[in-house]
Symmetry: C2
DNA sequence: CGAGAACTTGAAAATTGTCAATAATGGTGG
DNA sequence: CCACCATTATTGACAATTTTCAAGTTCTCG
C-alpha cells in the first residue's frame, strides 16, 4: 500500500481492519494473555481506539506515532522486545501502533495492571525507561541539526555505544565498524527524526561521501567509523 | 544571575548549592516524607546526580531539562502540582530539575516506590499522563511550525481548552479571552519549544499585531481570541 | 532613578523544506 | 531465473522558515 493511502487509512481512525491471527496463550502467573502475530507494517491499534488492552513486545519492533489533522506524522517511540505499550492514562489510546517487522505481541486486559503487582512493577520500570528515551528524543527533535539527528539514529542501532562510557574515537579496540539493519523506510526515519525524507536521504549521502558509512542495501547500512558517527551525534 | 552564568553552573553538574530549607514532614501512610520549599529558579537536582530521592510537586511549577555539551538546552517537561518526578530507571537523574515559581515539594526516599502500593499506583498514573504529554510534545518539536508551537504553548495555559471537546471558533458562549501568566522567561519558552528566543519574540509580536493577544506585562499575556490561537496551534 | 537583565526588531546567513525529475531497488509473474 | 514495474530513494534547483548577529528598547527591582 502506498504511503499516502496508508496515511488516509490511518487518519480515518477506524479499528484495525487486518486483525492478526490471535490465539489464547493460556494463563501466566494467573493472568490471561493472548499471543498475537503481526506481519510487518500492520496496525495494532489506532489513536482514539478504546484502550481495552495493552501489549508487550515479544519479538520484533513496534512504532508508535501520532498524526496531525493535515497528515503530518510524528513517530514518537520505537519499541524493542520487552517493552510494554498501549497502557493509557485515559480510555483511549493516545497514539497509533504499527509493526515495523514481523512481530509477536502478548496482549493483556487493561484491568490486569491493577491486579498484578509484578506486572505493575515491570510496567513502572518499563515506563521509566521509555520516559528517559522520550527525554533524549525531545533533545534530538528540539535542538539537534539534521546530521546530528541521523547520526543519533544510527548510534541507536549500535549496541553498547554512544552512552556515557563511550570514550572518543582514539581507543579503537578491535573494529570500529558495524552492519546495522534499519527496519524502517526513509519516510519512517524522517517522521521519527522530525525531518523530510529528502533531508534524511541527503544526510545519508553526505555520510556516504565522507566514507563514514556504506549503504549496502536501502535498509542495511555499514557504519565504517562508529566513533565518527558518534561524534556527529551531538553528544560530545 | 544571568542566563549564561546559570548555563555554566548547570553544565558543571555539581550538587545543588542552594539547598532549600528542609524540614521533616513526619510520616504519611507509613512513609517518611520531607517538605522542601524552593525559591523561583532554584535547582532541585542536576542531571547525573545520584537519584537517591524523588519528589512530588505540592505547589508551584517545576521544569525538567537536559543540556548538550555545547550548552544547547531542551526543556523536556513542565510539571504542575501533583506530578511526581525524579524517579530514575537507573542510579542517576537523566535530567535536571529547576523551579519556575516559588515551589513546595515533597521528597521521598527512592526505596519508597517499592514499598508502598498506593504510591506505586499513583506513580503509574502520573507516568502515563506525563508520557502522553511527552508524545504531544514530540509532535510539537518534530512537526509544528514556530507559530504553531507558540500557539500550542499558550493553549496549554488555558484550562479545559484545546482538547478533543474544543469546538471551533463560532460557539462563543460567554468570553473567548483570558489572562495567562507565563511563569517562564522567553529563553525558557524557547528552550521548551525548540526555538530561539528571537523567534518566540517575533511570533508573539505577530500575534499581537493580529490582535489575537495583548502583552500586558512580559510574563502576562491576555489572549483575546482563544479559538483563534487554538486554530493556529495545528490541532485543527 | 539607574543599571543590568530581558525583550524586541532588523538584516543577512544558514538550514531545511518543497517541488520536480531521475535513479535504484526489490518483489512478482512469466 | 530473468525482466518488468511499482515503489522507494536520490538528486537538483529554488523557496520558505528559522537562526544568527547586531543594535535598540523596555522592563524590573533594588
Amino acid at each position: 500500500m502506498a504511503y499516502a493511502e496508508r496515511m488516509l487509512d490511518t487518519a480515518g481512525g477506524q479499528q484495525a481492519a487486518d486483525l492478526p491471527d490471535a490465539l489464547v496463550f493460556g494463563l501466566k502467573d494467573g493472568m490471561s494473555t493472548t499471543a498475537h502475530s503481526h506481519a510487518p507494517h500492520s496496525v495494532v491499534f489506532y489513536e482514539g481506539d478504546n484502550a481495552t488492552r495493552f501489549y508487550e513486545v515479544d519479538e520484533g519492533i513496534v512504532m508508535l506515532f501520532k498524526l496531525l489533522p493535515d497528515g503530518r506524522r510524528q513517530v514518537v517511540e520505537i519499541l524493542n522486545p520487552g517493552t510494554i505499550f498501549g497502557v493509557s492514562a485515559g480510555d483511549l489510546y493516545d497514539c497509533s501502533a504499527e509493526t515495523l517487522t514481523r512481530t509477536s505481541l502478548r496482549a493483556f486486559d487493561r484491568r490486569e495492571v491493577e491486579r498484578s503487582l509484578p506486572l505493575q512493577r515491570h510496567l513502572t520500570r518499563c515506563l521509566l525507561t521509555q520516559m528517559e528515551t522520550l527525554h533524549d528524543h525531545a533533545v534530538l527533535l528540539g535542538r539537534k541539526s539534521a546530521i546530528e539527528r541521523v547520526s543519533s539514529f544510527l548510534m541507536r542501532l549500535v549496541p553498547q555505544r554512544g552512552g556515557i562510557g563511550c570514550m572518543g574515537p582514539d581507543k579503537e579496540s578491535a573494529s570500529d565498524s558495524l552492519d546495522v539493519v534499519l527496519t524502517m523506510t526513509r519516510q519512517e526515519i524522517a517522521d521519527y527524526l522530525g525531518l523530510t525524507i529528502e533531508t534524511v536521504s541527503r544526510v545519508i549521502s553526505d555520510l556516504k561521501r565522507r566514507g563514514l558509512v556504506t549503504v549496502e542495501r536501502q535498509d542495511r547500512i555499514r557504519i565504517n567509523r562508529i566513533c565518527g558517527i558518534c561524534q556527529l551525534s551531538g553528544i560530545h
